[in-house]
Amino acid sequence: MTRHYTAHAAVRAERDGAGRVRLTRLRSDGPYALRATPDAVHLVGAAAGPLGGDELNLDLEVAAGAALAVRSVASTLLLPGPGESTTRVRAAVGHGAHLDLALEPAVAAAGCRHRAVTDFALEAGATLRWREELVLGRHGEPAGRYSGRVDVTVGGRPLLRNELRLPDPDLCTSGAVLGDARCTGNVLLVGPGLAAEPYAADGLAVMPLAGPGVLVTALAPDSATLRRRLRHGEERART
């Protein structure tokens, strides 16, 4: 018998009277084990996967004036299994609060069927840094089926709704979608004082959004190049 995980991890950061940020909630569940360090909350994979059929939820809440950074210690391997696997991140960021969510890459292994859903609800005056990276297959293997959607609202208004749908290899390799890139990723910055001018280079675009944010999108042949391009793009987005 196959065991499926339905996990619900959660973090809440608040600012106390003395101006210090406290984690008033730190709930690990199933494969999502959370460890707090002075700099960040780390997601430690306590099980392989997600495997097909798993449903992993992570709720993040950053109360007004607080700051929270979330990292992971290793890349996530999306594996096949009976059914679709889902990861869901819901983040609420209060006025004057900052969330920095940058997990290590997700690797879509052959045969996986994965859906990633990310929702950021920012109050006016909240700021965000979010990085996502996707690697299409382990070395030498074709990627499974992947779809990921992110929805970002600021003060209830939509800032970014962006979905990557890779239902088949045919669509991945379309010159309009990923071409011959095996890795793709984004960095989203939300807040004041970001670049107002777009910038582009080979496999990289820095795109000021219609609202208060900049999306950096990169394509690359490998994960090291992807990270380098995103880093370069992020620097451009902050100037």
Partner: protein
């Protein structure tokens, strides 16, 4: 069943709405070597259809449905602001937002000149409304349904870049037309999917992105010479 001529006019590439000045990302894709021949063009069109094509068709269908609702309860201009913001949120590339708005403005001018209709007046309050919003309203004004709007939009998402490819890469027009004919069932499938969102929550409209198109759109602005605006 007759195909209503007012809708055929909206689907016609000869519509004087400036569409010929845009390649839908084909020109920079060709410059980058991502499209070189008919098979790579067919792949490009499939990808564009499934991403930008789906999103703009769904926005056009939603705009058409909104036009019909707004006519029923006098005004509701705020709905256009919502759809305009939803279009912006699905278009991270500033170059693509500009291209969409400039084509929207041209289309609005063309359809208001040809067949004025109160449904189009609300959009005229925007300096440059997004193209799928104008298309959806124009289809409604011409008596069409959200499904019609989605069809015309999805069709245009592939025919525009295809004819740009013939001009830019000197491809055989018959071979390109054959590629389009082979894509036709997919165009219908995307239009059917897009039309299904028409009456729902605008936040839930599809948001399929094409990272390569985004990068190409921004690179294009730096390229010289350019035959197309986008």
């Amino acid at each position: 069943m007759l195909l209503p001529a007012p809708l055929l006019l909206l689907a016609d590439s000869r519509l004087p709405a400036g569409g010929h000045a845009h390649s839908g990302g084909l020109e920079p894709a060709a410059a980058a070597g991502a499209v070189t021949d008919v098979p790579t063009l067919a792949g490009f069109l499939r990808g564009r259809l499934a991403t930008t094509g789906l999103v703009t068709a769904a926005l056009a269908a939603a705009a058409c449905a909104h036009t019909a609702r707004a006519a029923a309860d006098h005004g509701r201009a705020s709905g256009w602001t919502v759809l305009d913001a939803e279009a912006d949120a699905r278009t991270p590339s500033p170059a693509q937002r500009r291209a969409s708005r400039s084509q929207g403005r041209s289309l609005l001018r063309a359809v208001r000149t040809a067949s004025p209709h109160p449904a189009l007046d609300a959009l005229a309050a925007f300096p440059a409304p997004h193209h799928p919003l104008v298309l959806g309203a124009a289809v409604a004004a011409a008596g069409g349904s959200p499904a019609h709007a989605a069809s015309i939009s999805a069709y245009g998402a592939v025919t525009g870049p295809a004819s740009a490819a013939v001009r830019l890469l000197a491809l055989d027009p018959l071979a390109v037309h054959r590629a389009l004919a082979e894509l036709a069932p997919r165009v219908d499938a995307v239009a059917a999917e897009a039309g299904g969102f028409a009456g729902g929550d605008p936040a839930a409209l599809p948001a399929a992105s094409a990272p390569a198109l985004d990068v190409f759109a921004e690179l294009h602005l730096r390229a010289e010479p350019r035959l197309f605006e986008s």
